[in-house]
Assembly symmetry: C2
Homo-oligomer: 346 residues x 2
């Protein structure tokens, strides 16, 4: 009914950390409150880019806020994440990243040197990703009303007509490609906070994934049915979203999922599932089976893509489910992330 | 020298509230630190939209963060501001606003009801402005690491080929058009905080200015040389930016600048200059003199534009200066805002 008040169904009385974690609570907030009010069908569930027709062109458009703690960590910093997170959302939407606008919320008292270091990180990451920073905005809040700095990056990209992705294209028999080892970013942040006492030379995987996706699209464009960068909530949440949206089963072959020993060790100590841990430089792609080998070759041919593997396949049933199947034949359901074991990961 | 470290010249050791206020300190931060590092010439000084060629189209692209305190105030709320602020940046760049992406930084413990009210404000303001919210992102930080909620809105628009604006087009004899009374927003926020004890029915002027600009461009497109929405730092800061960028003098006729009695009264009590106070629903335009009357008629013909007036003219000298000339012939220099008398105004 035009003009009627949209119906919401969000039972939680207040916002908790878990609503920002990318798992079940995030999906409840988005599907129950944000999407019904702001225009449901157009809002992608977890932050990929929207496609907008403008002036005769098809433009991918996205934005993400970054509140990672600490600001710097092995392998990167909030400035790197803010660029790579947004250009990766464009890339997995099948677009070539073109331009960014960067907005800063700064806490009064922040050292100018810390700010300059992050601005330089932004500039270097943008150069590496091949995008131009075309604008910005700066707000300052009182001491105690932020945590050093928060960064929001908005990005636009040119949609590649060779890449048409949608959960609707995903069908049984399709293969699940993963670009490299999972969990490096999330566990690096956890170690950087000193929350567990573990010697490690682990580094965040923050990087642009566009070079790998560009090679993939150039090689097998029509064979790419869906892509996603598994950030908050990890591979498990991204694939559960897909299983729900495409009404399929995603079957993973447990031993094929690449996890570094340090990530596995930290997860075992903390009772975490590596597939729930955030990544900032990996992507998942669903590939039509007839293109599978060619797709893998394309991604592996790119520097940084050498560890790409197939980790599973799409099946009919049980629909809306992600299963992990061990080499011994054991099967377990891999659910979305519940709660927020690793707050402020990006 | 390619690859060399960009030279910065930002003497302030730490970030203070004034760096976010839109006046002299903001310009020092942007010109001394942000623009040199992130790519100077492409960064518009104070937050108007950038124009980007993408897929054969010319797209206006902007983003702003909003940290206004309190979240709600007479005439609007942070949700209204977040939409109108961004669509107005597109409009004064000569673009029709098309789509927004909204990102939220929420403080853990925020009431879901407060969030829903702001989401509905965003939806209503977007509908009024004729833009679609196409995406979003939500982050949650711990209690005490934000102030309820901060909103960032990114916007894209279709550049109107009839409107080509630049400080380079501004020349002596051009007239300065203002769409309506100044200072309503800033003083409303100040009163809403209870910082002065004054009875008032003043309301924020938050609204989209595109309908007025659309009429202006349709009527006298080639006669519009420059536009800006005078938000943080007010009319004085916007015109000082113009005077500096175009190397001209802006002469204002003091009695023609519309200021409501309540705004004037509050400014007198507090020792503030109305031309330094933020507006969220007004715009300034520099109009070639031969189009002046037609331009004014066009803006006044739009609902909400009835109070538009000419407040001054462009002169040769003294260059880089804004002068205010009283009816009695007195002349004073109107400088940019210094310090931050009204923090977190938007």
């Amino acid at each position: 009914m035009p003009g009627s008040k949209p119906q919401t169904r969000f039972p939680d009385p207040q916002i908790e950390m878990a609503h920002g974690a990318g798992g079940k609570a995030s999906r409840r907030l988005i599907q129950g409150l944000i999407a019904p009010v702001l225009g449901g069908p157009l809002l992608e569930p977890l932050g990929d880019a929207a496609l907008v027709d403008i002036g005769g062109a098809r433009v991918a458009f996205t934005a993400d806020s970054f509140v990672v703690k600490p600001l710097r960590f092995p392998g990167g910093s909030i400035g790197d994440l803010a660029v790579n997170g947004t250009v990766n959302d464009l890339a997995v939407s099948g677009a070539r990243p073109v331009a960014l606008v960067v907005t800063l919320i700064l806490e009064s008292g922040l050292s100018s040197e810390v700010l300059e270091v992050e601005l330089r990180a932004i500039a270097a990451a943008a150069e590496q990703a091949g995008v131009t920073v075309v604008g910005g905005d700066t707000k300052v809040v009182e001491h105690g009303m932020a945590d050093g700095m928060y960064i929001t990056t908005a990005g636009i990209g040119a949609v590649d007509p060779r890449a048409v992705c949608s959960p609707r294209l995903v069908r049984p028999g399709d293969r699940i490609l993963l670009s490299g080892p999972i969990g490096d970013h999330g566990i690096t942040i956890l170690l950087a906070r000193g929350e567990i006492d573990l010697e490690s030379d682990l580094r965040s995987d923050t990087r642009p994934v566009y070079p790998m996706i560009e090679a993939l699209i150039a090689s097998v464009g029509a064979g790419v049915h869906w892509m996603r960068d598994p950030t908050r909530g990890g591979v498990a949440s991204a694939l559960n979203e897909l299983a729900a949206d495409a009404r399929v089963c995603i079957a993973l072959f447990e031993e094929t999922v690449p996890v570094r020993d340090q990530v596995r060790g930290a997860c075992e100590i903390l009772g975490l599932e590596p597939m729930h841990i955030a990544n900032e430089g990996q992507f998942l792609a669903v590939i039509a089976p007839e293109y599978a080998e060619q797709a893998l070759d394309a991604v592996r041919s790119v520097a940084g893509g050498e560890e790409a593997v197939f980790i599973g396949e799409v099946r009919d049933a049980p629909a809306r489910t992600v299963l992990s199947i061990s080499a011994y034949g054991g099967t377990r359901v891999v659910d979305m992330l519940v709660g927020d074991p690793l707050p402020r990961i990006c």
